[in-house]
């Protein structure tokens, strides 16, 4: 037994493999960020949904109607919300240059505060602070369908020309997308919730699927740190694919190598047939990721104060 498993509860449940694997992924990211910083030219494939951002803003400018952005329903400032706001910062920068009005609707007050600061900074960096309307970034509601109703109302009243729905979306995804579609707005969308992606695909013009959402800021800004990180993500995905292939082959070999005797009616003899494992937890790969070691008793001194207070 490893030392970590002997002293750590989490290592008895999920094993050391998760930590090791995470460490490898982190090292991939850091190595590639360093490579990109050193000037290595790293390739990023074309992503149609991101190319459409410029087109959408251009269309909104031509029509003189606002661009609407929604950073999803994150319950707090998390990686998804930050990524969405990063993309919106790019959108706002272009909108600021073309003097195009923007609307950024937030579900969470913390995300609202962050978004307002970031968008104001964008206008300031562009030297166009006078064009920034603090009310363009607004907190609508932290109740799912009240938020959905509020944003839909805004889309209809303001007749937005372009809409960007990027982040965590749930049941309200289709309400937004269909409302925007009904007024002919060009839509770029992405949900980190896989269950909502089909709705966006059905209703929106361009959809960023899965990790394309995280590739967006690297793709748009070409900052070395982001591009390096993106290549690190690709390395990580290759490792995951290799692990899946290894697991499949290894499990198959394990299953096939276990045999049992079965009666062969045709020849009237017992013959060796492969025995399927009844419990998947017995497989090597499963035990590597989730060992579920038996409960361990540890002798410890009692705390008299805690014992007295518990009585």
């Amino acid at each position: 037994m490893l030392i970590a498993e002997a002293v750590g509860q989490q290592y008895r449940e999920t094993g050391w493999f998760g930590v090791l694997f995470t460490a490898i992924l982190v090292s991939f990211l850091l190595i590639n960020i360093q490579r990109a910083k050193m000037g290595k030219n790293l390739y990023i494939r074309r992503i149609a949904g991101l190319n459409a951002i410029d087109e959408a803003i251009g269309r909104a400018t031509e029509m003189g109607r606002p661009v609407l952005m929604v950073p999803g329903l994150s319950d707090n400032v998390n990686a998804i919300a930050v990524q969405a706001i990063n993309i919106f910062a790019y959108v706002s920068r272009l909108a600021a240059r073309f003097a195009n009005p923007i609307l950024l609707c937030c579900y969470n007050a913390a995300v609202f505060t962050l978004a307002q600061e970031v968008i104001r900074d964008v206008y300031q960096e562009e030297g166009l602070l006078d064009r920034f309307d603090p009310d363009s970034v607004r907190f609508v509601s932290d109740r799912q369908f009240a938020f959905a109703a509020g944003v839909s109302g805004l889309i209809l009243r303001e007749q937005t020309a372009a809409t960007f729905f990027l982040g965590e979306f749930y049941a309200e995804a289709l309400i937004f997308a269909e409302t925007a579609n009904s007024i002919g707005a060009i839509q770029v969308a992405s949900s980190t919730e896989a269950t909502q992606t089909p709705f966006f695909i059905a209703a929106c013009d361009y959809v960023l699927i899965g990790d394309e959402f995280y590739a967006a800021s690297a793709y748009l800004t070409r900052q070395p740190v982001l591009v390096g990180s993106l290549v690190g993500q690709d390395w990580s995905k290759l490792l995951v694919i290799a692990l899946i292939l290894f697991g499949t082959i290894f499990n198959t070999i394990t299953v096939q190598s276990k045999t049992t005797k079965a009666w062969d009616d045709d020849n009237g003899v017992y013959k060796d047939v492969s025995e399927r494992q009844s419990d998947p937890k017995q497989s090597f790969i499963q035990q590597l990721a989730t060992p579920f070691l038996p409960k361990m008793e540890v002798e410890r001194p009692k705390d008299p104060e805690a014992e007295a207070s518990s009585k």
Binding site: V7, G8, Q9, V19, L25, L29, L30, I33, V82, I85, N86, S92, R93, N108, A109, F112, V118, D121, V122, E125, D135, V137, R138, F139, V140, D142, A146, A148, A149, R157, E172, I175, A177, E178, T192, A194, T197, I201, A202, A203, G210, F213, Y214, S217, L220, T221, V225, L226, Q233, S236, K237, V240, V298, E299, R300, P301, K302, A306, E307, S309
Partner: protein, 302 residues
């Protein structure tokens, strides 16, 4: 001297409720918060970024340590940790609710800013009699009345007589008011918005399933098969017909509607969703790492 080698570590995080220690901690935290806030306000902009980066790193480091540092195995409240590793592990575990509370407190302050934003937008619209200003009046009246009745109802339910309010016969004005606003209006309006999705699904599905390309045709056929497999009568008739035709042939039995739909789900849907989940997970890890180490430069520089 290794402080963690003591048999009983004074636990900063797990102070008893209403003790002097916890009040000192609250006051100390408030003071430190105000100092950081003032410090950041008056600090030259070029020094602000390293301070924010340092705070972000410390905050993130706690969660990384909590994830990788061995947590004590089955440690009971009445037991003391046996050595330095267990003591540090217990210290980190005990800190968890406090750290979560800190982020909750910060979020609560942010909610105040959110409400300020709402008031600013809608009061401006009312005072300038802008288009649709009547909706702003409704919003503000709803905001104030819901906050009043919600809080008054909460207060009335505290104390020894609070349980009496479980019976509607004992309700007063504020309880009826809250019931009308929350259960009578808000919940119903939520349900109405949710039910609108059914119609949107129909219109979106119509556009998505129109046969325009090979992909759309494949999408239409698979969706049709899965939808039909969920319709009990259709699935029964189809399966029965296949069983009769197959006449015990194992291969033909695979063409039962429920089998085909199950194969589509298991083989294509599950694997696709898992592929997307892997990509999203790795992307979130990369994003988290960049934020933690302050490698991310926000602002979408173009």
């Amino acid at each position: 001297m290794n402080l963690f080698l003591q048999s009983k570590v004074p636990n900063f995080w797990a102070q008893p409720f209403n003790s002097q220690g916890i009040w000192m901690g609250v006051l100390g935290g408030l003071l430190v918060g105000i100092l950081i806030f003032l410090g950041l306000m008056f600090m030259p902009a070029q020094f602000r970024r390293p301070v924010v980066a340092f705070c972000t790193f410390i905050g993130g480091a706690y969660w990384v340590l909590l994830y990788i540092f061995p947590a004590p195995i089955d440690l009971q409240k009445t037991e003391m940790p046996t050595g330095p590793v267990e003591s540090i592990g217990k210290w980190l575990t005990d800190a968890n609710p406090v750290v979560v509370s800190i982020s909750g407190t910060v979020t609560a302050f942010m909610l105040g800013l959110g409400i300020f934003s709402l008031l600013s937008i809608h009061l401006k619209r009312i005072s300038r009699r802008q288009k649709d200003w009547a909706y702003s009046v409704i919003l503000l009246v709803s905001l104030v009345s819901m906050a009043f009745f919600g809080y008054a109802d909460y207060i009335s339910r505290q104390g020894p007589d609070g349980t009496k309010l479980d019976l509607q016969a004992n309700w007063g004005f504020v309880n009826y008011g809250r019931d009308l606003l929350f259960d009578g209006l808000l919940q119903q309006m939520d349900a109405a918005m949710f039910s609108v999705i059914a119609f949107y699904i129909l219109s979106a599905a119509y556009r998505a399933f129109r046969i325009r390309s090979i992909e759309a045709t494949i999408l239409l056929s698979t969706a049709l098969l899965v939808i039909l497999s969920l319709m009990g009568a259709v699935a029964f008739v189809w399966n029965d017909a296949v069983k009769n035709m197959a006449n015990g042939n194992d291969f033909l039995m695979n063409f039962q509607l429920t089998e085909i739909a199950g194969w589509i789900r298991r083989t294509f849907e599950t694997s696709s969703l898992r592929g997307i989940a892997f990509g999203v997970g790795i992307g979130a890890l990369a994003m988290g790492l960049r934020i933690w180490l302050s490698l991310e430069r926000t602002g979408g520089g173009a």
